[in-house]
Amino acid sequence: MTEQFGPHPAYSQGERLQTGVAPDKLVKTHCCFCGQQCGIQLKVKDNSVIGFEPWEDFPFNRGMLCPKGVKRYLQGSHPDRLLHAYERDVNSEGGFRAVEYDRAIARVAAEIQRLQAAHGKDSFGVITGASLTTEKAYLMGKFARVCLQTANIDYNGRLCMVSAAAGNKKAFGIDRAANPWSDMLKSEVVWISGANVGECAPITTDYVWQAREFGAKIIVVDPRITPIARTCDLFLPIKPGRDVALFNGILHLMIENDWLDHEFIESHTVGFEAVAEHVHEWTPRQTAQVTGISERAIRQAAEWWGEARSSFLMHARGIEHHSHGVQNVLGAINMVLASGRIGREGCGYATITGQANGQGGREHGQKCDQLPGARDISNPEHREYIAKVWGVSADEIPAAGVDCYEMFRRIDRGEIRGLLSICFNPKVSLPDNKFITRCLEKLEFYVAIDFFLNETAQHADVVLPGSLQEEDEGVVTQIEGRVIKINQAVDPPGDARQDWRIIQDIARSLRRERGFTFTEPREIFDELRIASKGGIADYSGITYEKIEKQGGVFWPCTSEDDRGTPRLFETASWNPIARGAGPFYFPDGKARFNVAPYTPPAEDVDDEYPLMLTTGRVVSQFLSGTQTRRIGPLVDQYPEPRIEMHPQLAEKLGIADGDFAKAETRRGDVTLRAMVVTTIRPDTIFIPYHWAGRKSVNQLTISAQDPISKIPEYKVCAVRVKKDE
């Protein structure tokens, strides 16, 4: 299978190496990888992307790119590219046999009909992804609810941004970065919790460093000294899974020293007293004992944070990937609200989204409990409005489904028997992934839409050849809440086609094509604008032309002459929930303090598994590696995962740098080379997660989930390590 479908690392060759070749055109678009969505120009010749040219006029990154962006063009014209539809066939080379596209579509439709007739509508599930354009994400939600009429749809943003989203909605009533990154430059303190900025959001580094040049103090909280932590002003080496304890401890000191904005708390928030009462017990001593950070460092951080006149707090998966991820987020927001430093220039708060459309992909209905415009699927008024847009009755829209991990548990129990996946590689990316593999084998029918045969799709009965990002157009919403436009550079090769066409072909074959007859992404976007109108994530005033003219449009944007909303929560701002009562998205216009209790990780250390395992990314790879493990220069930069450990631990275990070591949890084990470095807590090991099979760290991770956001606890579980003899 590997021989035929890869991953093979691609390198520059042929025309891509010739220096005299002039491109036919330069296409202004964005990188296909992370949530920053850097502007880039793709060099196109003969319907092939042959290179790139920086796009220095795009305001967010001004030409800057990380190594992934530089080499992203190598995913085009790739030897592993799926050029046909395939059917599983054990007798064929590679386990699959190429079939005619229409025949594959007909089989998919027949299997969906068969399963749904025999076992009910919900027996067919759909899993999607946050790297899809917003048009596709919107269409997938509509396809599941209207065409398949299944409640079972969820997406891989469940692995990514949902704790931040849930926390933001509880505290602010809206889920979006509150500020453009340019606000960071006017901040006196930049607080970064659980975010390996240098490797996971590299361009953000320039904003952080520039803020410091202008006088900001940088505080970084992380179990590892990441590149952004190396030269920060204060580094807090926190024990994994203890973030809310730190935030509560800081708020305790803010109250004790009266570093509070009483006027803001009084007029713009509710619930401060209960939170103040709760953090009373979080003395510096207790905070230090729980977090593993020294009292002195905690006091220093509190003083800088407390006395600042402006600040920007950012966090990412480091605090969110926990069985109490939402509480961690709420703890951080409490610190921000108590300071009153939000909704003004230089006073910011944001989560750093991980995926290309991490923001836009979570707003328009591919999430199990949500309808377009960030509407709630259980709210009768919201259902009524969307039903009208879709031309169905509200009763026909299924109720809320379950999160994607629970969907696999339903597969395990035989409740879901058929699955369609797009833009999601759960066999690599979900925790305890041996369980996921068993579930995939239980499916009666599985159809995967993708451009490469990723590890999950290897279990498919039918594979449909979808489109690369550069083969389609549409919008995505990047890290700051800025809606930007992906422009098509090349046409899909062979039988491959744009994902939204494939979905519509399935709908047609099911004879349920009403509402699925769009002829271009612009038409989908226009319907999405109407569907989002009046919702919190209101895109109704955004057009492709406005995006191009303004260098992106920050939502909400409610009318043609609305330029959009770069900064949320400005004092006099209007929103459809508060209707002028205040800047926050609640009927009284006030933000909510939320008591954020600390609970230990779901699986704490013990004698048997005495260490903590934490996982994350490296700069040269992205997510499950479907694309980046196929790009040669990126593979070479960091060829395989290593187990990062402190020399104190290594010495105790008799492991030297470069030795093979075995890391083992209650769920699985992995044997990799050790990387012995002083840049990690001695009680913690780190393994990056981009690899598959025997190198996949998600064999080890725990499927414990946050009760509210359902995010899995990737960032901490109990592990033991020994030298591999």
């Binding site: 220095e56 990380c66 490797e199 190396r230 950070i293 700069v619």
Partner: protein
């Protein structure tokens, strides 16, 4: 001390400039390296290999200083010395500096692949491409800078550890640092076209590179003296 060989190289250099079909790098823009900002992401290395004059090969060196103890990395591009040691030691007179101060890759017809330049360059810049029998090195993206573009590495660098712009820009953007272009290697003093940013507080006339080589890597270290039990310590654990 400059040898006769070098003097003759300089004379030839003046003639060479007239014959090389080049547009000079706009002199208002300068190259600044700010290692303090480097995050080791290798965007510069990857982007360098996309440059049209040497596609497929990167001319940048990016190294960890001491990964066991720090994530600190240092990007090394050609410093474009006023008196390039590489050219001074070249027995074939293959290495030319153009009038704008850019030291070019060895000229193919002349280069004898002797490796003298690779061994002599105090910054360790030139690379011997044995497959071409040619020394290749960073030419500050001559194809780009001669057309008014920034070098590829400095354009993409996500942390702007590599910066290409005017002196006014760097002074307003980096008030904490100051630009230096004098380096001391033992008895040899080198001045360069490319500038190195150093902390303003420690401002010095020159950077003593040989002395710095014996320094330990800087930045934060985790020196928690705990393992498994007793996670908590009274004393400071981040220095």
């Amino acid at each position: 001390m400059r040898s006769a060989l070098v003097r003759s190289a300089s004379d030839q250099h003046a003639r060479g400039v007239r014959t090389l079909l080049i547009m000079p790098v706009p002199d208002q823009n300068e190259f600044f390296i700010d290692p303090n900002r480097c995050i080791g992401c290798q965007a510069c290395v990857q982007a360098c290999s996309e440059c049209d004059t040497h596609r497929g090969f990167s001319m940048i060196h990016l190294e960890y200083v001491d990964r066991a103890h720090s994530v600190q990395t240092v990007p090394v591009v050609c410093m474009h010395c006023d008196s390039p040691t590489c050219a001074e030691v070249c027995p074939a007179d293959a290495i030319k500096k153009t009038a704008d101060g850019v030291v070019q890759t060895a000229r193919k017809p002349r280069c004898i692949a002797c490796n003298n330049c690779v061994l002599a360059c105090p910054f360790g810049v030139p690379k011997m491409k044995t497959e071409f029998k040619l020394m290749m090195k960073c030419d500050m993206c001559y194809d780009r800078t001669s057309e008014g573009l920034k070098p590829m590495c400095a354009t993409v660098c996500p942390s702007q550890a590599l910066f290409f712009g005017t002196r006014e820009q760097i002074e307003s953007l980096r008030p904490r640092s100051t630009a230096t272009n004098r380096f001391q290697f033992g008895a040899q003093t080198i001045t360069t076209k490319v500038n190195m940013m150093t902390p303003r507080s420690g401002r010095s006339e020159y950077i003593d590179v040989t002395a710095a080589m014996n320094e330990r890597s800087t930045g934060k270290q985790i020196s928690l003296n705990v393992l498994m039990e007793g996670m908590y310590q009274e004393d400071d654990n981040a220095d």
